[in-house]
Symmetry: C2
Subunit: 373 residues, 2 copies
């Protein structure tokens, strides 16, 4: 089937670009001498995880326990849940371990570490714990020099749980647009987590995993001495946010939304698409470096960029595209199809239950996804 025969809006995944992106990041990890543990929060698809593992990935990262359960159902056992654990989720995590998951959980909180130790008790699940470090992103994580780092490690050491290591995420690498600036953040990311690991080892703890990761730092890091693994996710498909920061080209963006032109508002100078806020998301991450991108780059039905055409605004089910001149109305008749390269792939994909796989220009199948919590 030709992609233009799909109903709209539909989510497309270009399989050749996906494989090229997977190979690029795997090569980066290999060059840096670290294992790659891709973050499946973007694709949330078992078929994608299989492709990543076939290309050399060691285990996966997830952002919800629902994702962990889904991937476990598909035979993937080596899973890091890289969002802070809360006590109320320990029973769910224990079920996953009982079902065979080699699950790594994470905290930066002494009270949660205590709850984990208590839940493990004498014969509970021997949870593997990562301690989260803040390397400058100021989301989760302890400072590498904090007292709590050693408190949590001591508490876990005194329990039947296992201290797996330390983990950080340089989300602030999304805030810069030069490879030199990203490389500097990659160094900061490495230093924070390696410092934490060394403090733990000096206190007598074994630290197997020293984990860093964000797509920009993973691609532009030059030296990850002391780091054992990289996590990254959005590189698998990239998006206009990454493009706006110089991390990828539009030719590498593997995900798009197929849309129909559903109206012309000549008085207002715009085309209306059936890809609005729900179909694209309201993410505006590209604004900082490419404000003209709005909610997405418009491409023709085959995926070729249409220079100067963007989804400038959205309402729930409508995307608004300012025409360049009158000829755009004839070129993009009501009912014609366009593809949109999304601003933030992770947010856009979440509106869809599956990817339509595009291979050599035709739809060759579907890959299911898991959404929600």
């Amino acid at each position: 089937m030709n992609p233009t025969q799909l109903s709209t809006p539909s989510l497309l995944l270009d399989i050749d670009r996906l494989h090229a992106n997977i190979a690029r990041m795997q090569a980066s990890a290999d060059r840096l001498g670290v294992r790659l543990r891709p973050h499946l929060k973007t694709l949330k698809s078992a078929r994608a995880a299989e492709a990543l593992i076939a290309a050399g990935a060691h285990g996966i990262t997830v952002s919800t326990l629902k994702e962990a359960a889904y991937f476990l159902d598909h035979g993937i056992t080596d899973i890091t849940y890289a969002v802070g654990m809360v006590p109320a989720r320990l029973d769910t995590a224990a079920d996953l371990v009982a079902r065979g998951a080699d699950l790594k959980i994470m905290t930066d909180c002494v009270d949660v570490a205590q709850a984990i130790a208590d839940r493990v008790g004498q014969d509970g699940p021997r949870f593997k714990l990562l301690i989260e470090i803040d390397c400058g992103d100021h989301r989760g994580g302890l400072q590498a020099d904090s007292d709590e780092l050693l408190q949590i490690a001591a508490l876990i050491a005194d329990s039947a749980a296992v201290l797996e290591g330390v983990l950080t995420h340089a989300g602030h690498s999304y805030g810069v647009d030069s490879s030199a600036a990203v490389a500097a953040i990659a160094t900061q990311e490495r230093d924070a987590v390696v410092t934490a690991a060394e403090r733990l080892r000096a206190a007598g703890h074994r630290v197997d995993s020293v984990s860093v990761g964000s797509t920009p730092t993973a691609l532009f890091a030059t030296d990850l001495s002391g780091v054992t693994e990289l996590r990254a996710g959005v590189y698998t498909v990239f998006d206009m946010d990454q493009q706006s920061r110089g991390v990828c080209t539009t030719d590498e963006i593997a995900m798009s939304v197929l849309s129909s032109v559903i109206g012309h508002n000549r008085a207002a100078g715009k085309l209306l698409l059936d890809a609005g806020g729900l179909a694209l998301s309201k993410d505006r991450s590209a604004d900082r470096f490419r404000p003209e991108v709005g909610y997405g780059q418009v491409c023709d039905a085959q995926g070729a960029i249409i220079a100067g055409l963007y989804v400038n605004s959205v309402s729930q089910e409508h995307g608004h595209v300012k025409v360049r001149d009158e000829s755009d109305y004839a070129r993009f008749a009501v009912g014609s199809r366009l593809r949109i390269l999304p601003v933030h792939a992770c947010m856009t994909a979440a509106a869809y239950d599956y990817f339509n796989i595009v291979e050599a220009g035709v739809v060759s199948g579907r890959w299911d996804r898991v959404n929600g919590w």
Copy 2:
């Protein structure tokens, strides 16, 4: 079950507030002497549609044909699909008509009207057509004085399809924050569609439906002479966007997201929640009049507003809440629950398959929803 026993993030719907909001809008429509055709794009729930119809609504409005099929499956037949039709969706619409839907479809495009007339032919589905009018929102719609208005009507009159009437949506009423300004837009909305209806009647066409609607204009209109029906949706639950514009109070917001505190970042002065961009959406509609609201108003687990606490930023699975002072860490321990009043209910709800119904403080059941396309 107490709502705090739910897993997080979860979507809550306060049934008493919902019924009060439904009654308020029904009273507004009754006062204005028009039928109410609520827009189910917000709730997308058959149980909600039943509650609306029981309170006096005449039919429903939907934003996708998937919604139309879902509501038809639940026995609701009087359905207006208020997004511009494209020829590729006519077969799906025909199936709905064949299954018993009294479906109204809409266009503002002569070519689409021709496609509809062609599809109807001699013995096809006798589609009922609404012509979309732009009353100043500059999304879809023809100008009320346009030539195309009469061209489409003539084309439909010459076919076996039925001209149902005219429809407009004053989406620009979301851009003002005084009841006087909203009332002025309501007048503009009425005038545009009544002008169009009068032109059609003067040309000899029967016009049964003269349809207007947006939550603000529906609540603040003073005179809808010539209008036959009101459409509105978000009023059923309201949100911080509507509150920021003075359309509702926070006490009327019936939808919230139950969330867990998953971390404290004391170095950065913030609480981290497990309600991030996916659980809340990245909609920032409240920015214009209340930029401090960010991605949502924080409430305690029972739903009482916590003054000065907002979801200031989000990443995919994290909401970041700046603490007011050190005491907030003790008050909101890791693992404790908070409710978030969303910025834009339609966008937030789309991340969930069902509502948890909260009645007299306890969870009394689930209402399913339909998402996607």
